[in-house]
Symmetry: C2
Subunit: 208 residues, 2 copies
């Protein structure tokens, strides 16, 4: 019997927060559907799109004190392949001796995380392609500060997170591709309860 | 994929109300399980057991002004079969001309509903047996005042209803046999979200 299921739709509704389960799942209502939202996955999605937006809109920043970085042979080879893409992303390195590089500039959003710069650069040199590596880097940067399971959310911040998720370009999945929300209709609940569920049926038909 | 499902267990946990969906379903938490409770079905169960308790504990009440009642031939036949059971239930009739009866006494809980006395008596003469007819009568008396769908419940009364349901002898079904609650474990939710769900797994294993 189908229960609350992951879905992919063109639009994501404005959800009304009604309560939380296990300090992880936000329970919300939209018309005649019950939403179960993973607060961590949802926050990851919101932060990921925020980083992507800043990355597109904000010019890279020259580092006042260029950071030195040691690259492995594999990383050097990847860098030679991806130098232009790194530069387009705002990551400018310059050789500084064998296997050593100076990080000259970084995307603006990274200036808030100086401790992560080296990790980010190495991250962009991993994986099968720059695009894949870059998505992984952004996803990791979004995951670190995202609200974790076991962190209780008050009504106001919970509603704010649901509103921010609804504004996302891809609200249905987190940056790692996992669902952010499960949905169950009132009609499905009515069936499970053995209710005639007329009210739900009317609404559902009314929408079709 | 199994979702929140009707269950029948020996015990019913103390539920913590977390929110309401569609002014009908109470969302509640107990350990690592999410409960969806049908507020009308739950209230019916609570009222039904309250009526049953009063029926067992309170002596029947003599009517100051015995009510006259016309019975159909079928109802008269049923009465002749069930007179002793009706009397044991506190319903005492006496013949008052052809097809007419006087209602002398009724179960104490009925004195609050004088307008329903005649309907209740006729109800006890319907169905295949007195026991079945009596259950139907009590279920109807419990249904009438039960909170309906579309009636918003504040947190305090919602929690009080969940507590009263947990104190019932048969909390898992309403008097008509429909489920009062659906249950879904955190582990099931974790699976649907593609989470490792370790926290849930540990808790579940910890209980076994």
């Amino acid at each position: 019997m189908a229960g609350p299921a992951p879905v992919q739709r063109a639009s994501f509704p404005r959800l009304r927060f009604v309560g939380a389960f296990r300090e992880l799942y936000l329970l919300a209502e939209a018309d005649d559907e019950l939403y179960v939202v993973d607060q961590h996955a949802a926050h990851e999605r919101v932060l990921y799109e925020e980083l992507s937006r800043r990355y597109r809109e904000e010019p890279p920043v020259e580092l006042e004190h260029p950071e030195l970085l040691n690259l492995s042979l594999g990383e050097e080879l990847a860098y030679q392949e991806r130098a232009e893409q790194l530069e387009a992303a705002g990551l400018v390195l310059e050789p500084f001796g064998p296997g050593r590089y100076r990080i000259r500039s970084v995307p603006a959003f990274l200036t808030a995380h100086p401790a992560l710069v080296a990790e980010v650069v190495k991250g962009t040199l991993a994986g099968h392609s720059f695009a894949e590596a870059w998505r992984t880097v952004l996803a990791r940067l979004a995951c670190l500060p995202a609200i974790k399971a076991g962190h209780p959310m008050a009504e106001a911040p919970a509603q704010a997170l649901l509103d921010a998720l609804a504004r996302c370009e891809m609200p249905w999945t987190c940056p790692h591709g996992r669902p952010t929300a499960l949905v169950m209709s009132e009609l499905e609940l009515a069936r499970r309860f053995g209710r005639r569920g007329v009210r739900a049926v009317e609404r559902v038909n009314g929408k079709r």
